[in-house]
């Protein structure tokens, strides 16, 4: 990946009133990849103080790192940069700390806490829902099958944390927060075990946390907060219970009001805008189909201004120091703004093969259309359903082709076909990795399987 790779964000003309010298419409793709790579090495160093004080949440740190990188480069490249499956390092005479590191997957398993059945933030830590979710998400992104035994242990851990009123505690100590309901349901849905807890009771609890301003808090009575709104709406979405939102328009309005003059979003009334809310809020607005209620251009511009154009990374707001947390959420937010963050430059190719099994058919169509809007592509897909939907769109002619072998992938590449991963790419990633040009940004999210965004059945009908 060329460190100087820069992609122009196609966010339309927007006027800004700030006087920052950094161009507002450039996305420093290459720099962000560099930033992430450098940071992940630095934190693992035994000499890093920052690494030491954040070691207890390393599981989440790795998740943000891996997820951010996966939005920027192909799965194969992300794997190799981070050492997801194997830690292959060029051999040299002097071994460094890095050379001894296990693969990320191996390390994740080492964080499993036998006593509780959950995953801890690092090796030796107690199991906790937050890190259990991050662990399961990492394994899902890495396309790794979790063992039956561990899977069952994790399920039992989650079950044990549900309270009588349907809420979840974070661990056996008993702290209750709607964040934990999201962690519980998302973990179980990724493990395809949602039915193992009392989902309807969990839903009732979340529904009871909706405030009259339309938002949700950490508990009943708590102030509405965008992060908590994400957790609650995400949980409802996973549980196919979005209808439980009593006042969806009011919620949309409350969220839209988070946009301040700079274009950024805040988390509560009268607080400062912060890039991470781009994700918390945008994802909710996407789920409830009201993402047009904010100015996408101004938000994209705000996020773009929070980039560090020299060293890469994204900060909480313009002029501040970047960190991996805000880098991930900033990029994820941009991906929901129809901004092409993958490096698929389809304009020079006539054919785009998107390997998708079509589970997320409706959502894939919208994003394929956006990604290929100017290049008159022929879409190759593995899914009949997706193909027929695409045929209905004016710009695409869909062919149902399944890339079954590396030979075929190779042949397609030779023909000039751009190959992208979309939708649930399990099973295709491995053999397609060497041929993959990238990921349709939004579609990556569906590699999380049953990620809340895809559950919104009326998503496309709002897309007018």
């Amino acid at each position: 990946m060329d460190e100087n790779a820069v992609v122009t964000l196609d966010i339309g003309g927007c006027t800004t009133t700030t006087t920052t010298t950094a161009p507002t419409s450039l996305f420093y793709h290459g720099r962000h990849v560099q930033y992430i790579e450098k940071l992940s090495v630095a934190l693992n160093s035994t000499k890093s103080y920052e690494g030491a004080v954040t070691e207890h949440l390393r599981m989440s740190g790795i998740y943000w790192t891996y997820a951010a990188l996966s939005l920027l480069v192909s799965p194969g490249q992300a794997d190799s940069i981070l050492g997801v499956h194997c830690c292959s390092r060029p051999s040299n005479d002097e071994k460094t700390d890095q050379d001894y590191r296990p693969s990320i997957v191996e390390w994740v398993y080492r964080c499993f806490d036998e006593r509780s059945g959950g995953f801890g933030g690092n090796i030796g830590h107690d199991g906790h829902l937050l890190y259990t979710l991050s662990a399961v998400q990492i394994l899902a992104m890495a396309n790794t099958e979790i063992s039956q035994e561990k899977r069952e242990a994790v399920i039992q851990f989650v079950i044990s944390l549900q309270q009588q009123d349907g809420s979840f505690s974070g661990d056996q100590w008993g702290e209750i927060d709607t964040r934990f309901t999201y962690c519980a349901l998302c973990t179980l849905s990724l493990l395809k075990a949602l039915d193992r807890v009392d989902v309807s009771q969990a839903v009732e609890y979340i529904a009871s946390c909706q405030n009259l301003d339309g938002g949700f808090g950490s508990m009943k009575g708590a102030e509405s907060h965008a992060g908590q709104v994400f957790c609650c709406v995400g949980a409802l979405s996973i549980a196919k219970s979005l209808h439980k939102i009593k006042h969806p328009d009011l919620l949309g309005w409350w969220l839209a009001e988070r946009q301040v003059d700079s274009g950024g979003l805040n988390g509560r009334p009268e607080k400062q805008a912060d890039v991470c809310y781009s994700w918390w809020i945008l994802s909710v607005m996407t789920i409830i189909g009201r993402v047009d209620w904010i100015s996408k251009d101004k938000l994209a511009s705000f996020i773009a201004k929070a980039q560090d154009p020299e060293d890469g990374g994204i900060a909480d707001r313009p002029e501040d120091m970047p960190d991996v947390f805000h880098t991930f959420f900033g990029i994820a937010g941009l991906s929901l703004l129809d901004v092409e963050v993958s490096h698929i430059g389809c304009s020079s190719k006539r054919q785009l093969a998107i390997v998708s099994n079509g589970i997320n058919g409706k959502f894939v169509v919208a994003d394929v259309a956006k990604a290929t809007k100017d290049c008159g592509c022929i879409l190759h897909t593995t899914s009949d359903a997706l193909a027929s939907q695409c045929r209905a769109m004016p710009i695409l002619a869909a062919q149902v082709n399944e890339i079954q072998s590396t030979e075929e992938a190779h042949a397609r590449k030779k023909e000039g076909v751009t190959i992208a991963i979309g939708g649930s790419h399990r099973g295709y990633t491995e053999f397609l990795a060497p041929f993959t040009d990238g990921i349709i940004a939004n579609q990556f999210l569906h590699g999380f399987w049953l990620f809340p965004v895809m559950m919104s059945a009326d998503l496309l009908s709002k897309d007018t």
Binding site: T46, Y49, A52, H56, Y100, E175, L212, W293, S295
Partner: protein, 344 residues
Amino acid sequence: MMAMAALNDAMIPIEDLSQVFSDMTPLPQNDGSDRVCVIQYPTAFALAYNYMRAIWQSKEMSQRALKLTATCAKLNPANYTVWHYRRQCLKDLGLASNEDAVRQDLALAAALGGPNPKNYQIWYHRRALLETHGVKELFCRLELDYIKDVLREDAKNYHAWSYRQWILEAVDDEELWKEEMDFASTLIDEDIRNNSAWNQRWFVVHRGKQDGKPLSMNEARLEADFAIDKGISVDPYNESSCRYLLSILKEQLLEGEHDLAKKLVEEHEAKVSNLRLAFEKTNQDPGKCVNLTATWIDLLEMMGDKESLQKAVSLAKGQATEHDRIRTKYWLFRAKQLQNGIDE
């Protein structure tokens, strides 16, 4: 606040660690590599945590283990496993239900948290101690005072407010509710934009109960008037007071007596309408106050008659095209929604 001496007593000084734990081998953070680690001269941080890991492995529950958790919590207050182990030690040593020990631990957590703690572990430690011991009158007061100190530093600290709500609900004492009402009012006076204080007011006036029972009409009127007199009239640009007013009225419409609720709405629609006139009297365009217009639109919708709805449609279109263009599509939707209300 815990005196320095008391804080020091609760911890083991770094320079004493090797001596106090001379019988143990410090363990570096396992990074999964299982290599033979050459122990470089460790920093204070590494040394404390290396002994902590040795203790965790040995499962020793003792005074020295307890003190070590304090040392480690000071170095990294967000390390949740340290706090867990501390509570396990307290339990094992029979200190969890000991009033003095609990008081000391609360003071320790306060000392370690600093003036404006924003870490979940430190706040949860307080709650865990009191859930075990019970939020007696003594602790209730101490805690409410402590939270007040924190809120003085940051009146919007989300953790502080959640914890405060838990204390009030757990104790559920009428005197305390009344005091809390005053406290919320004071905070609103000091900073009308403090959304947390408005949220607290709602919480208190409902006595913390979320069981869907609305306020009585008298209470609702008092609250609606407060929102106007102490909120919107003072600063019409502030979102919080507007949302508060609308929530109070909405609750009455949804759960209270409908006719009385309608009357309350009419009274306050008139007040908001007057506030907009006040803008015009000083030669300002009331449309510039997007908030006030949005609130008026909601009130006109609650009124429900054709004329009000038509007015609301026109105002919504004004927001879309002129005054609140960052949310144009929302306002166009709103105008359509209101128009549908007329057509039905």
